[in-house]
């Protein structure tokens, strides 16, 4: 295992940890989503690192990253759509206030 791969994995883990912290600590919907984005970005770093240093000649790793990016985009669109609708309806996107989802 090369040192570059280790560096890359550490970077990915750091990004994921920052993302989790952000998602759990923030109360604003937009900020939570940014945390989620960071978590996904950490995961992608891992994927890219594994592809680059272990199997550089198979295209599957690249394709996987592209799919995750697509999912990120869709998640962003839906998430911001919900945030805008929530803001228009209630005037805020604070998640502590949004307990109507309770079953």
């Amino acid at each position: 295992m090369s040192i570059d791969l280790l560096l890359a994995l550490i970077t990915g883990a750091a990004l994921f940890g920052v993302g989790i912290y952000g998602a759990l600590s923030q109360t604003n919907l937009v900020m939570i989503m940014m945390g989620v984005e960071l978590m996904l970005a950490g995961a992608m770093v891992n994927l890219v690192a594994f592809w680059r240093y272990l199997h550089p000649d198979t295209p599957a790793g690249q394709m996987f990253v592209l799919i995750v990016m697509t999912v990120m985009a869709i998640e962003m669109a839906v998430g911001f759509g919900v945030a805008i609708a929530r803001f228009r309806a209630k005037g805020s996107v604070e998640m502590e206030e949004a307990v109507e989802l309770k079953g």
Binding site: A23, I32, M95, E96, L101, G103
Partner: protein, 605 residues
């Protein structure tokens, strides 16, 4: 236009006209009867010239309706027409006071038309139809005075007895047609063998019913409840004659065994009903019993193998008995009663009518030169010539003796008594009809030789028979005139007056078994009803069990499943807090646990 159709249709159309116009019933009746009479005489004239008229009508496929005027049927048709015309003339007078003339004359004409059809029928199907028609019209006529007590039951009894016996005719006709493949009477008469024996016995049953032979003689006496012209027409010359005519026409087919049975049945009837007549207390019932007795004599003649003798007696008896009935009708109007006790001495009130009555009575007894002498002589000669002479001749002579006795007794009662004269309406018409019939009763004997030549048969000339017959008749008259009836009958008197009922008669032998059958049918019916009800109850119970299991079993199972699911769902709901951070924190902890387990496993490894 054929004479046959005129003979049948003239009375029928007169009846229809009477019913449509509802006026002049008497005139129209006499007109219709007269035209029918002329047509019948035309038929007889052409029969004398050797021409047989016939009329074939489309009937069932392969079984056409066939009307035929042979010498025999033309003769019978003329007899029916003559007697009915004279009776109708009498009836014009008799019914003068009655309010229902239209119904009376229309039914009489219907009856005459049916009788002509019966006599002229050339095939069995038409004969059956006519047989039924005379049955139903006789029912209507006997029950003419239906509001009077006992009349409708008498009519019903006459109808039921003859109907039951008619069953014999039906089966016999089925046998005949099935065996020969033809409904033509002449064709079926060629049949022989066992089928002929069976058919002959069944025909005898039918004839015994219609001709009121023992043991079916009771209805005829009760049928005297009808108006007197009805009695005169139906119960002397036509309806009752149908049975004898049936046997005379089928005589060529009948085997010797059947002939013997017929002779014995007739012989028993002539003695039994003769005794009943002797003990009778009512003039019309006496005459009715006498009718049965005389038809018994005719059956003896048929049984002796000489149907011609029966035919001659039929003809003579028709004229004689209708004259007697007409005379009795006048006496009835005189005293408003028919019991012999009330009629004592009525002969002195109406000497001319009584004279006619006496002539007819002597003719019936068989005194020469009146017509009855010749026909009785023929019957006795026939019975002497038959192989069963000892039996048949004895019975025939006994019948003759009894005839003389009961007629003499009736004459004695009618003559000795008090005079109680009061005027009667319509006596002239009644007298005219009676005079015509008495004339016939007196002179018919002279016509017998020409009938014999017409039918190409001759009667055996037997001096012994003449002597025996005459002495029996005279002896009977003497006995009846000089010896009072109770002494004459002796121990038989109560039997005769009860109509020789054996152990309760019809009530025991027919009515009670019929009631017993009806009762057992009723019981069976009730049991069936209970069984069906139980079956229904059983089905209902099964249905209730099924419904209960459906309600409590299947429904309960499904609903408990539903309730369980709902409860589980409401419990699962409480897990949801709606707080995103809490959910997310749980998710992270969960994911950490999921990752931790393989990581631990890896490390331990």
């Amino acid at each position: 236009m054929n004479f046959i159709s005129v003979a049948i249709l003239a009375p029928l159309s007169a009846a229809v006209l009477i019913l449509l116009l509802r006026r002049l019933p008497a005139a129209l009746t006499l007109l219709g009867a007269l035209i029918g009479l002329l047509a019948s005489i035309g038929l007889l004239a052409s029969a004398f010239n050797g021409i047989n008229s016939e009329l074939i009508l489309p009937g069932l496929p392969e079984l056409p309706l066939h009307l035929l005027a042979t010498p025999l049927t033309a003769l019978l048709s003329t007899l029916v027409a003559v007697i009915s015309s004279l009776v109708l003339i009498y009836a014009v007078g008799y019914m003068k006071q009655d309010k229902e003339k239209i119904r009376f004359f229309a039914t009489m004409l219907l009856f005459i038309s049916a009788m002509q059809t019966l006599v002229l029928a050339g095939d069995w199907i038409l004969l059956l139809a006519a047989w039924e028609l005379i049955g139903v019209s006789s029912y209507l006529l006997i029950g003419f005075w239906y509001p009077r007590p006992g009349v409708s039951s008498a009519a019903t009894r006459a109808f039921l007895v003859t109907r039951s016996a008619d069953l014999g005719l039906y089966i016999a006709v089925f046998i005949l047609i099935a065996n020969t493949g033809s409904s033509d009477i002449a064709t079926t008469l060629n049949m022989g063998g066992h089928a002929a024996v069976a058919a002959g016995l069944l025909l005898l049953v039918a004839a015994m019913g219609k001709s009121a032979q023992t043991p079916l003689h009771d209805w005829l006496q009760r049928a005297m409840a009808g108006p007197t012209p009805v009695s005169a027409l139906l119960h002397s010359a036509t309806l009752v004659a149908a049975g004898a005519i049936l046997l005379i026409r089928t005589a060529p087919m009948l085997p010797t065994d059947v002939l013997l049975v017929i002779g014995i049945a007739g012989g028993i009837t002539t003695v039994v009903t003769g005794l009943i007549a002797l003990g009778e207390r009512d003039l019309k019932r006496l005459l009715a019993a006498s009718t049965s007795s005389q038809y018994g004599l005719m059956l003896v003649a048929v049984g002796a193998g000489v149907p011609l003798a029966a035919l001659l007696h039929l003809i003579a008896h028709a004229a004689i008995k209708s004259s007697l009935f007409l005379g009795a009708g006048v006496f009835q109007h005189s005293r408003e009663s028919t019991t012999l006790a009330d009629l004592e001495g009525v002969g002195r009130d109406r000497p001319r009518i009584f004279f006619g009555f006496v002539l007819a009575a002597l003719a019936l007894a068989g005194i020469p030169p009146l017509s009855g002498f010749f026909s009785k002589d023929a019957i006795i000669a026939a019975s002497l010539a038959s192989p069963n002479a000892p039996l048949l001749a004895t019975l025939a002579l006994a019948g003759t003796l009894l005839t003389g006795a009961y007629m003499a007794r009736a004459l004695h009662i009618l003559w000795y008594g008090n005079k109680r004269k009061h005027p009667i309406a319509g006596l002239r018409w009644m007298g005219a009809g009676l005079a015509g019939l008495v004339t016939l009763a007196v002179i018919l004997g002279a016509g017998f030789p020409s009938i014999e030549t017409l039918l190409h048969r001759s009667m055996p000339d037997n001096t012994l028979a003449q002597i025996l017959g005459l002495s029996a008749a005279l002896g009977g008259l003497m006995l009846g005139w000089f010896i009072p009836m109770p002494r004459l009958l002796g121990p038989l008197l109560p039997w005769a007056q009860r109509g020789f009922v054996i152990a309760g008669g019809f009530d025991t032998w027919m009515v009670r078994p019929a009631f017993a059958i009806a009762h057992s049918c009723d019981r069976l019916e009730r049991r069936l009803y209970v069984a069906v009800l139980a079956l229904g109850q059983f089905g209902l119970n099964i249905g209730q069990v099924v419904r209960r299991s459906d309600d409590q079993g299947i429904d309960g199972l499904i609903f408990s499943l539903v309730h369980g699911t709902l409860e589980l769902g409401s419990r699962a709901r409480t897990l949801q807090s709606g707080l995103i951070h809490r959910e997310m924190a749980i998710a992270v902890v969960g994911a950490a646990l999921i990752f931790a387990i393989p990581l631990l496993a890896l490390l331990i490894h």
